[in-house]
């Protein structure tokens, strides 16, 4: 008997029992048919309100918050007791979301180092390459207005432009259009967005400083003078740091989730029932299915 009483386990159990009784006598926590709205909860409700309305709730409003909270607690307990939480798609999705949040957040707790970012930038340079830029002028010829003459007219106007040079006065040449006649140095992406992919590719090979063309767009024909070209380049880490960091963290988050499911799946065996009339829908083994993260 005495040796039993000396067992740490027994002593701890006795201590636990005493604490439990003491706790219950003091009023304990919620459970069973007892609902306690704690100080923490009251603060939670009030501050949630304050963050929405930018002022603390009045007594009446706080009472409404608490009443609603109590109703919610009762409903939640009754619902769970009736098994309403089972097989509910929304609840399951929310639970999954919360689980994944925990993992995602731990990833964000350890920001990548400069070395991590540099390494990522080196191996994924293409994703961060600053776009090539181009500046150019263009003279537009409208097939709507000129019909079959358009090509011949283009050749003629091009000859004149070549003689006049890069600073030719184009105000009265070609046809009026809302498309800009001159574009300052901008990423090639902008050219694609304004003139279309075909035109953007069409001017890629043009040498700067001389009028060339006609280049086709979905609007018509263009005679183009490329003024300047700046090639794409891989930037220094300093200028793309936030984007690199974002990509590194996104990758870590993804890997963390995969690792989570791999680790958790080790606890489970998965069986997938096949329909009685077995059509060859593939013999995906249970292991394979279990191993594939969603």
């Amino acid at each position: 008997m005495r040796s039993t009483l000396r067992e740490p386990l027994i002593q701890f159990l006795a201590l636990g029992l005493l604490l439990f009784l003491f706790f219950e006598w003091r009023g304990g926590g919620s459970g069973g048919s007892r609902i306690v709205v704690t100080h923490g909860e009251l603060e939670h409700l009030a501050s949630g309100f304050a963050r929405t309305w930018q002022r603390p709730p009045t007594d009446e409003e706080l009472k409404a918050l608490v009443d609603d909270r109590v109703k919610e607690e009762i409903a939640a307990r009754e619902a769970v007791a009736s098994g309403l939480d089972r097989d509910d798609t929304i609840i399951r999705r929310r639970l999954r979301q919360k689980l994944e949040f925990v993992v995602e957040d731990t990833v964000e707790q350890a920001p990548p180092t400069d070395a991590d970012l540099k390494a990522w930038l080196d191996t994924h340079a293409d994703a961060f390459r600053s776009e090539a830029q181009v500046s150019f002028r263009q003279v537009f010829l409208s097939p709507e207005r000129r019909g079959a003459r358009a090509s011949a007219d283009a050749a003629q106007i091009l000859a004149r432009l070549r003689v006049a040079g890069p600073d030719a006065d184009t105000a009265r040449l070609g046809d009026a259009t809302m498309l800009p006649a001159e574009l300052p140095l901008e990423p090639v992406r902008e050219v694609r967005l304004s003139f279309g992919e075909g035109f953007a590719r069409g001017i890629e090979a043009l040498a700067p400083g001389e009028w060339a063309g006609p280049v086709q767009s979905s609007y018509g024909l263009h005679l183009v003078l490329v003024r300047e070209r700046v090639p794409a380049s891989v930037p220094e880490l300093a200028s793309v740091r936030p984007e690199v960091e974002r990509e590194v963290v996104a990758e870590r988050r993804r890997r963390a989730l995969e690792a989570l499911y791999r680790r958790l799946l080790e606890k489970y065996t998965v069986e997938i029932e096949r329909p009685a009339s077995s059509s060859s829908t593939g013999s995906a083994s249970a292991t394979a299915a279990a191993g594939a993260p969603r």
């Binding site: 701890f12 309100f49 350890a110 694609r192 989730l257």
Partner: protein, 661 residues
């Protein structure tokens, strides 16, 4: 350590780990800082944009084209997109989150909710992820660190694992510990407990991460989903600011006492936000067509007679209206505008949002944009301010995280509506009591917001929205300019730089003309360029609405520019239809009709300087295959009888208003 000792330590260590994983606590954040401390803001630090730098350091230019102060192309974006963080999107099966949505909008290829690869034809310039505010959760930023808990070895171990990049390992242990522990209720509500992190903080972080000034703008926003009785009064709230300001508040919801279903209370929330943070926020309502007559009241709202306070508030906070999206287009209705042959376009007029109450004709006047613009003139006369003085934009309201609204690249409104042979024949929803039934094919591939912003930043785009210099498109990227002034002449349409003339001698879309100079009539310079990869244009129209001396409102649609050599009908003044090159079986069309560019100067032939009026431009493309036609071709399915198979895409500009004083 014995098993027992470990068992006792777990609850405390768990609490510690949860606290420790709260970055706010870890950084010792103060009272007013956001619960999830955002990373450094690139936009505040200033990013080196070589194009901008080149512009700033140019020598004075001979060329009149250099260093324009106005934009050469509008910015295209979506102001209304839902991700898996929205309750209903997740319920439908959406898996993509805010970050996926931004990556997609920026032009990357992603995997859709149903596992299909998807990519936009061209990147968008901006995006607002506007998940529903209800269920985004809220978490107080109270802090209470208990130093003695940090002394616990297991907790310390978990804290160190997290900090050294072994977070996922720690997380697994924490989760497994979760399943063993029960601990004091108060700790569950411990502020900053990560298991309870809300979608709001997540969305803010995602927006700040993907916001790249000069390249792509990610706005912070949410949708306030007022839906009482199934009547849609939704608004999208868009912040001009970054996470530093936005995370100081919780989004407004609809459940009392935290929230309300009354827009007037939303406006109070917006005011409180601006006063607290010094930031700026605007609200964009949508789907008047599903409000069953409640969107644009004229007499009373929520039991209260319309008064000065209401009209002034509404005019102040709601500068735009989302006139076209997947749940129908709401510019005009054939019953309200029987003489407008283009009014019957992607109409949803069967009932309210959930089909619980069928539509009655008497509701229509208070649901459609053109009608509201007209009634706004009446209310201005009566109460001193026009509450319905809004610019127009389009957006998707997609619940897939994918802002796809092009007909040949449409991924539906919800995850089950992503491409599949079934989607053309499925029912979207049906109310058995009322018989209101909407089929999936009725969902439209629409729309985009086009904004004439000076540069691609949050501030510039938001400011352009605030001044209403915007237009809506039904999914294509045609470029539309619209200016109003007293001095435009027909030859201005031949000018090589119409925008320069427009800004110099008039006001752009969204602007105001006042007090006509003696003998002058409003003139309008309007031009449109087709989408570079899209269809030719059929015509440009100007829609005029005005308030006559007797207090009645009127409307008239004018054809102002059109392709080819069609002549207006001598009796009706209307220009005949342009025809169609659509080959339905092939799902193709050709640009052999219509014109790639239209521009004209138009003068109001029936102007009365004493009468309030508005004018907006409507640009219409030649017919093209609708997404249903692409589905029929690609999946080899037969459409249900009555399915719309072609579409005439259009743009609607913000109006220019005229007032006598």
């Amino acid at each position: 350590m014995t098993m027992l000792e470990r068992a006792i330590r777990v609850p405390f260590a768990l609490a510690l780990a949860l606290i420790a994983s709260s970055p706010a606590l870890a950084l010792g954040a103060g009272q007013d800082e956001p619960a999830a401390a955002p990373k450094a803001f690139p936009q505040d630090a200033g990013q080196n944009d070589p194009a901008a730098a080149a512009k700033a350091f140019q020598k004075p230019a001979y060329s009149p084209y250099a260093r324009r102060t106005y934009p050469t192309r509008p910015l295209f974006g979506d102001t209304h997109l839902h991700t898996a963080a929205s309750f209903d999107a997740g319920a439908f099966g959406a898996r993509l989150g805010a970050r996926d949505a931004y990556r997609f909008a920026r032009g990357e290829e992603v995997t859709s909710n149903t596992g299909q690869p998807v990519k936009l034809s061209r990147p968008l310039d901006f995006l607002v992820v506007s998940d529903h505010s209800d269920n985004m959760g809220f978490f107080p930023d109270l802090y209470a660190g208990k130093p003695e808990l940090l002394a616990d070895p297991t907790g310390r171990r978990w804290y160190d694992m997290i900090k050294s990049g072994k977070g996922e390992q720690a997380a697994i242990e924490i989760i497994q510990a979760f399943s063993q522990g029960t601990f004091p209720k108060d700790l569950i509500y411990f502020p900053g407990t990560r298991a309870y992190r809300g979608a709001w903080q997540n969305n803010i972080a995602a927006a700040d991460q993907y916001n790249e000034p000069g390249r792509f703008t990610a706005f912070i926003g949410y949708e306030w989903t007022s839906n009482t009785g199934g009547n849609n009064l939704h608004r999208n709230v868009i912040f001009r600011d970054g996470g530093g300001k936005a995370s100081q508040v919780e989004p407004f919801t609809v459940y009392k006492p935290y929230g309300s279903d009354n827009p007037a209370d939303l406006w109070k929330w917006m005011d409180a936000y601006e006063k607290k943070t010094g930031g700026s926020v605007l609200a964009i309502p949508h789907n008047g067509n599903l409000s069953n007559g409640l969107m644009f009241p004229v007499v009373e709202e929520f039991g209260k007679k319309l008064d000065r306070a209401y009209v002034e508030s509404r005019a102040h906070w709601e500068r735009l209206y989302e006139v076209t999206q997947t749940k129908g287009t709401g510019e005009a209705h054939p019953v309200l505008s029987p003489n407008d042959e283009f009014a019957d376009f992607e109409i949803w007029d069967k009932g309210n949002l959930d089909g619980s109450v069928p539509k009655q004709k008497s509701m229509l006047e208070f649901e459609y944009a053109r009608s509201a613009l007209k009634n706004g003139l009446k209310l201005e006369q009566r109460l001193g301010t026009n509450p319905y003085k809004f610019g127009l934009i389009g957006s998707s309201d997609a619940h897939t995280g994918l802002s796809t609204v092009e007909e040949d690249n449409f991924f539906g409104k919800t995850a089950p509506q992503e491409p599949s042979p079934e989607r053309m024949g499925a029912t979207f929803f049906e109310d058995p009591k009322t018989g209101v039934k909407i089929m999936d094919w009725e969902v439209g591939a629409s729309g985009y917001a086009a904004v004439w912003a000076a540069e691609n930043t949050r501030e510039a785009i938001w400011d352009a929205m605030e001044r209403r210099e915007t237009y809506a498109t039904t999914g294509t990227r045609m470029i539309v300019r619209f200016f109003g002034g007293w001095e435009f002449e027909p030859k201005d349409a031949d000018n090589r730089m119409p925008a320069t003339i427009g800004y110099a001698r008039g006001v752009p879309m969204g602007g105001d003309l006042r007090k006509a100079p003696a003998g002058k009539t409003p003139t309008f310079l309007v031009g449109a360029l087709k989408d570079p990869i899209g269809a030719n244009l059929d015509r440009i129209q100007i829609v005029k609405g005005w308030l006559d001396g007797k207090g009645e409102v009127h409307e008239q649609v004018y054809d102002v520019a059109w392709s080819g050599d069609r002549k207006p009908d001598p009796k009706t003044g209307k220009v005949p239809l342009v025809g169609s090159t659509v080959k339905l079986e092939e799902a193709t069309w050709t640009n052999t009709i219509g014109a790639p560019e239209l521009i004209a100067v138009w003068k109001d032939p029936a102007f009365d300087p004493a009468q309030r009026a508005f004018y907006y431009a409507r640009v219409i493309e030649i017919p093209t295959p609708r997404w249903t036609a692409y589905d029929a071709k690609r999946f080899g399915v037969k459409p249900l009888p009555g399915t719309r198979m072609t579409v005439t895409e259009r743009a609607y500009t913000a109006p220019i208003w005229y007032s006598p004083k």
